[in-house]
């Protein structure tokens, strides 16, 4: 089920109402059932996959608790193997087969292996990582075993963050799922505000930019530099608005019920360094890789050259997590490289004072890396890179290009203007929020009542008149 769908508009109030109406002892069961239904909206049979990992991890946790010595590690490995195994089969099998076929073809061997006809289960990368986080924390002794099976199952299946995060830690969420939460009008209002902003980001900014970006990146060799830059910058904001919008809806929907999920984005494009960027972008994932990959590899405790190797390895894996394609790996590798170069340039110090120059530099570097993230192939990515320096002398004359782009917009021209206006508002609000150390929905909540209500109505009208609905998935759903 998509958040920006009619089904969710019915699902959310029903589940929320039931949550507060039902006795506390039934809330976990209701949420578990609702979350299962939410997941089954996609492909019903796939619920078996997620319950398989839930059962394995639940028992692995309990066995780790009672075991000693090498057996504890063996049960942890069992849990990790189950989760990574499912991930490998459904997400990476065809990637591996494709690469194998390329190698076989190169050496003249035959026959080629057939690709598997598999649809990637929704949110697989997210809930497997969240599940592994639980067994790892239990193994480390930092999380008590959860004996209540429905509660543990809900930890994995909890619908607001099920399909695109944030990737939660058991220490944050398990106790919240257990604790009673009463109806609190201020908290509910906060949650709604956050959801409203999330829908705006998704439907007004991200989904409209997606149309423009898909035309440009669909045939990048056909466009000049100005349009390629427009498309690349648009993608940078498309993916930000899409993913952070989704996170806002998830966090808002959860906050309404009194369960606080971790913040996943903190105005990342206000970062003055790539290092800071990764502390503000997809925070739940970057901290997951830090805690479970980078630090176990030695983190900052090893020699400096080894640190750089660990950093590169972590980001290469991060890239692979995002997609079963070498372009994603290169994207991750570029980010790792930028971090290494930053550390080299700063003599190891990662503290940078905020500066406009730093912010622009970071935005340029991060956006350059996005080229590989968005391009379907290396050929397309290099076509973008090769094309960017050209065509600037005719900056007004790719009127042909602009006319072509305009032709394929389903919305009339006003939709284009409204989108970039909304994007401008998003950037300004993010800048304000970053400066004040608050979230945009908190800024909205602090406005005087008449201004706040005027903003609500303006937001609703913008959503209705300009929003793109229904047919655009969230980008991160493909993971």
């Amino acid at each position: 089920m998509l958040f920006n769908s009619f089904a969710f508009l019915l699902f959310f109030p029903t589940v929320t109402l039931l949550y507060f109406v039902l006795p506390e002892r039934l809330r976990v069961w209701m949420l578990l059932l609702a979350s299962s239904l939410f997941y089954m909206w996609f492909i019903p049979g796939y619920i078996l996959i997620i319950y398989f990992t839930i059962v394995v991890d639940y028992f692995a946790g309990r066995w780790i608790e009672h075991a000693t010595g090498p057996r504890r590690k063996a049960f942890l490995i069992l849990s990790l193997a189950a989760n990574l195994g499912v991930l490998s089969v459904f997400k990476y099998a065809n990637f591996l087969i494709g690469n194998l076929n390329t190698v076989l073809g190169a050496v003249g061997a035959a026959p080629r292996l057939p690709l598997w006809d598999i649809i990637l289960p929704l949110g697989l990368s997210f809930h497997t990582f969240q599940a592994m986080s639980y067994t790892i924390e239990v193994y480390r002794g930092k999380q008590a075993v959860e004996r209540d099976f429905p509660l543990y199952a809900l930890y994995v299946l909890y619908y607001p963050q099920l399909v695109a995060g944030p990737i939660e830690r058991p220490q944050n969420i398990l106790h919240q799922l257990r604790e009673p939460h009463s109806f609190d009008t201020m908290r509910v209002a906060r949650g709604f505000r956050r959801m409203l902003l999330g829908f705006l980001k998704k439907s007004v900014v991200a989904d409209r930019l997606a149309i423009l970006v898909s035309v440009i990146y669909g045939a990048p060799h056909r466009f000049g530099g100005p349009i390629l830059v427009l498309g690349t910058i648009s993608f940078a904001f498309q993916i930000y608005a899409d993913f952070s919008g989704y996170s806002d809806i998830a966090l808002g929907a959860s906050e309404v019920m009194g369960i606080s999920l971790m913040n996943n984005f903190r105005q990342p494009y206000m970062s003055s360094s790539v290092s800071e960027f990764w502390g503000r972008w997809h925070i739940s994932l970057s901290t997951w890789f830090r805690d479970y990959v980078y630090i176990p590899l030695g983190g900052n405790r090893v020699s400096v050259p080894r640190q750089y190797v660990n950093l590169m390895l972590t980001f290469l894996l991060c890239g692979l997590w995002h997609g079963a394609s070498w372009t994603f790996v290169v994207w991750g590798g570029l980010n790792g490289l930028f971090l290494v170069l930053e550390r080299l340039g700063s003599g190891g110090s990662r503290q940078r004072s905020p500066s406009l120059l730093g912010q622009l530099r970071t935005f340029v570097l991060v956006t350059l890396a996005w080229i590989f993230f968005r391009a379907a192939t290396f050929r397309d990515a290099f076509a973008v890179l090769r094309g960017i320096p050209h065509g600037w002398s005719q900056i007004l004359s790719p009127a042909r290009d602009v006319a072509m782009i305009r032709e394929v917009w389903i919305a009339p021209l006003r939709g284009f203007v409204a989108t970039f206006m909304a994007l401008g508002v998003l950037i300004v609000v993010d800048a304000l929020a970053s400066r004040r150390g608050k979230e945009p929905h908190e800024l909205l909540g602090a406005l005087p009542s008449p201004v706040r209500w005027a903003t609500y109505y303006a937001a609703a009208a913008t959503l209705l008149f300009v929003g793109q609905f229904g047919q655009q998935q969230f980008i991160y759903f493909q993971f």
């Binding site: 990146y217 669909g218 006319a403 047919q471």
Partner: protein, 373 residues
């Protein structure tokens, strides 16, 4: 708690009011019906009912479901320029021929719709109309445009329809449609159909309701002038181009290969332009891809044992500008003549046409926009 509910109401009430006019208009005109229900209503309701929405666009899915419902042996595919072929001229009418035009509006949508029609074991043949501008190498269309598959498969995009329906405020206030008009326009389905008397017949063909033009629709001459302006400035469908796109040709080739695998007969059609338009394009130094396109497509079809009929020039059929609704959508007279002309060289098509309708098709004026309602 009470104040919370009051505030919630204060927020949603204006939103509900904003949605009221679009909702009312689309409910009255049945434009919000789920597509599968629309298919049932259109198939089983008043046979004269036309279907054409103003703010919703479920045509792709509607046509797929309707084709599967009637199980015709021949289906016409293509853009809106395929909509003139009618089941009237076929033996067995709608159970022999269904017009699936307006679905495959780009080259790569041909395979999309074929994949969805393939389960129908009654299907034997396709009449495929190929718009000339599909093959302009300068026109950039992304096959992976987000949401296209959903247009074929999604039952209903309620939120999308509501959002599109907000345009109805402007149209209602400016008199494009009225509630009285919507009520009077029954049993047609959709605001456009109710207000203008234009829309898709049950057999999928288009009836242009010229007697009921709504104020926004321009006269034929003005539309022709706009097309000529587009040709001069290289805008829209008439973007300049000097090369035929290999990629789009290959996509059509792949489509024809899929038809062969399904043992389908296929006949291809390059539809006509109004004579004035065709002369303008021929004289243009900027649309030279059109000169080589027919031969390239003919080779593509012949390589697979299929025929292509090039009717780019309407003068072959003896028609004038009057035979066209605009510069590139011709009336039924032209389509009828094309159909019987193609049948003379296509035995399987000839066997399916109704000989008793031949006179109706060929002996009336070719410039008829509507042969019979």
């Amino acid at each position: 708690m009470r104040s919370f509910w009051l505030r919630l109401l204060a927020f949603f009430l204006p939103v509900a009011l904003l949605c009221s006019v679009p909702m009312a208009a689309m409910v009255i005109s049945r434009e919000l019906l789920p597509v599968d229900q629309l298919v049932e209503v259109h198939a089983n309701g008043d046979p004269r009912a036309l279907l054409l929405g103003s703010y919703t666009n479920a045509v792709k899915r509607y046509k797929v479901l309707t084709a599967l419902h009637y199980e015709p042996s021949i289906v016409a595919l293509g853009s809106s320029r395929a909509l003139g072929f009618r089941s009237l001229f076929f033996q067995g009418a709608i159970h022999t021929f269904y017009n699936g035009g307006q679905t495959a509006d780009r080259t790569w949508n041909l395979r999309r719709i074929l994949r969805r029609l393939a389960p129908d074991t009654h299907l034997r043949a396709l009449i495929v109309t190929l718009d000339q501008w599909w093959f302009n190498d300068r026109i950039l269309e992304n096959a992976d445009q987000p949401g296209v598959d959903a247009q074929f498969d999604q039952a209903n995009d309620v939120l999308g329809n509501m959002s599109a329906g907000m345009q109805s405020w402007h149209d209602w206030l400016s008199g494009v449609w009225s509630f009285q008009g919507l009520l009077r326009g029954a049993p047609n389905l959709g605001i456009e159909a109710r207000m203008t008397g234009s829309g898709l017949r049950r057999d999928g063909s288009m009836l242009y309701g010229l007697d009921q033009l709504h104020p926004e629709r321009r006269a034929h001459q003005e539309q022709l002038k706009q097309v000529l302006d587009s040709i001069e400035h290289g805008e829209g469908h008439y973007a300049f181009g000097d090369t035929v796109s290999e990629a789009y040709l290959q996509e059509v080739g792949r489509f024809l290969d899929d038809c062969r695998k399904l043992h389908l007969e296929v006949v291809g059609v390059l539809p006509p332009f109004a004579p004035t338009v065709e002369r303008a394009l021929g004289a243009s130094a900027h649309h030279t891809y059109l000169r080589v396109l027919p031969e390239m497509l003919r080779k593509l079809f012949q390589a697979r044992g299929y025929s292509l009929f090039d009717y780019t020039s309407c003068e072959r059929l003896g028609c004038s500008d009057q035979a066209f609704v605009d510069g590139h959508h011709s009336g039924e007279g032209v389509y009828a003549k094309m159909l019987y002309a193609m049948a003379e060289e296509t035995p399987w098509l000839s066997a399916k046409l109704d000989p008793t309708q031949r006179d109706l098709a060929l002996h009336g004026p070719v410039d008829r926009i509507v042969i019979t309602p």
